[in-house]
């Protein structure tokens, strides 16, 4: 992962951005959930992320079957956004560190959204059950609204 792109991704996570995660089954049916507490490893081109599993029970079986994943990270105040595609290398239980990162992310995300006029009950969308994944990043794309949305970074 290129340094500037990794830095931008880290910044988006640090600001409590909204993270949508999509997987697909072997028949190419998409399944979607939300992601929290992302950690970028620029040197090795990896992204560690916790996924809500109470949203869509099919996400984990998809990842176990084919590993294909896309993650869109969008800043809730500026709408600057990027998408990461890749393959999940590892799936596991979340640790106490993961749990702390999830809590911090949910708190920042909620604060951002509340500033935009929504009630704090938005935190409800985080769900209650999570799984940790390690993603080998293949490509990053611009996802900010505009003519360059979808172009590779």
């Amino acid at each position: 992962m290129e340094g500037a792109t990794a830095a931008r991704l880290e910044e988006l996570f640090a600001d409590g951005s909204a993270v949508m995660v999509v997987t697909r089954d072997d028949d190419h049916n998409p399944h979607v959930t939300r992601g929290w507490g992302g950690v970028v490893d620029a040197e090795n081109g990896r992204l560690d992320l916790c996924l809500t599993t109470s949203d869509d029970l099919m996400v984990v079986p998809d990842l176990e079957a084919n590993g294909a994943i896309a993650v869109t990270v969008a800043h809730t105040a500026t709408y600057r956004a990027m998408q990461v595609t890749g393959t999940v290398e590892w799936i596991g239980e979340i640790t106490e560190d993961d749990r702390a990162r999830i809590a911090r992310h949910v708190e920042q995300f909620t604060a951002q959204v509340v500033r935009a006029g929504l009630p704090p009950t938005i935190a409800r969308i985080a769900g209650e059950r999570f799984v940790a994944v390690r993603i080998a990043v293949q490509q990053c794309f611009e996802q900010t609204p505009g003519p360059k949305a979808g172009s590779a970074l």
């Binding site: 935009a116 938005i122 949305a149």
Partner: protein, 439 residues
């Protein structure tokens, strides 16, 4: 056992655009894709439509493999819903396209982004299945502010039918929108189709200074509603503004809002009668999501009734209700009025009062009063005086007089104008007056 699909009509709030929806698709090589959407509109119980401003990966994926997964969120309960189905077709014209385009164009006009946010088409999607996300028990929504909108609407219409003149009709509408529906900020603007401008004749819930304000057709949210003759409804203006400003190269030249400066929710409903634009009924609120689809239906009906009422009042004239004479505005010293010929702006003792046609009407009455001592004037003579600049035909004279009357009341400058009978008005002065005409 599989849960039954949830009817889309039962989750209407999730399509209000308060919380961004997302759409997930899959490329032919198996790469999944997820994008945020600016607008998802429920078409009926089987179809939704999404806007397509920039040809994107989502668009390409849907053309190759029509299957999609939409995630929408109810902004009140925060319940999430997944909608699965297939892309049907794209529309680049027609009523649904126009209706969705006007919303984007109105925000673009307000934020100075016209041209950047051009709607290329709307993708129509068939929803095969809608399910609630998560395994927690469903959240219950707080009770709506008015559970019986038809009954409340009936009361409003009855009150409006009893209005004797334009002043009363506009006041009744604004006050009833607040006491029956909780919509505390509203404005009635009438259209001058000759100059293609709107002018505010009534404003409720705002600080002073709104009556008399003018807006060109096509200018900002309200002007777009007038120009396109379509309702504009925005549920989260800050979100739309942020999305517009995120576009690369965006240079927002935002227009000031005409009502609440920090409004998040807005409705501008054209008042139409037999194809003629009578005006625009405008409501706003500082809260996100204040006007849902049901509120929009109410406002549309009220705007229609107000259009008919105004037309009937114009056609039949009206006798002003008998009432006690207005207290004479008192000023101990001579009132010094200045009229600027160029734009009809009129000042009293250095304070700006009004401009345009109402300013010229007052200037004409003051000139006559100073010359002859007259205080009573007729609509007919004002219509015949071409220097005032009233358009021939539908001249909105009653509305101009109402604007003048309300501005003088607001400014309490020692001058008032009263209706004293059908087609007759009286100039009421609190003291001697001088008028200086400046070109």
């Amino acid at each position: 056992m599989t849960e039954p699909s949830i009817p889309l009509a039962s989750i209407e709030r999730a399509f209000e655009g308060v919380i961004p929806a997302s759409i997930s698709t899959c490329a032919p090589d198996g790469t999944p894709n997820v994008s945020y959407l600016s607008v998802v509109r429920r078409v009926d119980d089987e179809r939704v439509a999404i806007t397509n401003q920039f040809f994107s990966k989502t668009t390409r994926n849907l053309r190759n493999d029509p299957r999609f997964l939409l995630r929408v969120v109810d902004p009140v309960t925060m319940e999430q819903y997944d909608l699965r189905g297939k892309y049907l077709h794209t529309e680049a014209s027609g009523p649904m396209f126009d209706s969705m385009r006007v919303q984007l164009d109105a925000v673009a006009a307000q934020t100075g982004m016209t041209g950047t946010f051009r709607l290329r088409g709307i993708d129509v999607l068939r929803v095969d299945r809608c399910t609630r996300v998560g395994d927690a028990p469903p959240a219950t929504a707080p009770a709506a502010s008015n559970e019986q909108p038809l009954a409340a609407l009936g009361i409003l219409v009855r009150r409006l039918a009893g209005s004797g003149d334009l002043a009363e009709a506009t006041r009744v509408v604004c006050e009833s929108l607040e006491d029956l529906f909780g919509f505390g900020h509203s404005m009635v603007l009438l259209a001058d189709e000759t100059t293609e401008r709107l002018f505010a004749v009534a404003a409720h819930g705002y600080a002073e200074g709104h009556v008399g304000a003018e807006i060109a057709f096509g200018e900002g949210l309200i002007g777009i509603a007038a120009q396109r003759r379509q309702m504009v409804r925005v549920t989260a203006l800050a979100r739309s503004r942020r999305m517009a400003s995120a576009v690369e190269g965006a240079d927002l030249q935002e227009l000031p809002l005409r009502g609440l400066p920090d409004a998040q929710s807005l409705i501008a409903a054209p008042m139409l009668l037999q194809g003629r634009l009578v005006g625009v009924l405008y409501l706003d609120a500082a809260e996100v999501g204040a006007f849902d689809a049901r509120a929009a239906e109410v406002v549309e009906v009220v705007a229609g009734h107000l259009a008919v009422t105004i037309a009937l009042l114009e056609a039949g004239g009206s006798d002003p209700a008998r009432r006690e004479p207005a207290p004479r505005p008192s000023k101990a010293t001579t009132l010094k009025a200045v009229l600027h010929d160029e734009d009809g702006s009129l000042f009293v003792d250095g304070d700006y009062i009004i401009r345009g046609i109402p300013g010229r009407i007052l200037g004409r009455m003051l000139t006559e009063h100073i010359a002859s001592g007259r205080t009573t004037f007729t609509n007919k003579e004002l219509r015949l005086d071409r220097s005032i600049g009233l358009p021939i035909g539908n001249d909105n004279l009653e509305a101009r007089l109402l604007v003048l009357r309300r501005r003088l009341e607001e400014k309490a400058c020692g001058i008032a104008v009263e209706r004293v009978g059908r087609g007759r008005i009286e100039l009421v002065l609190g003291g001697p007056v001088e008028l200086l005409a400046q070109s």
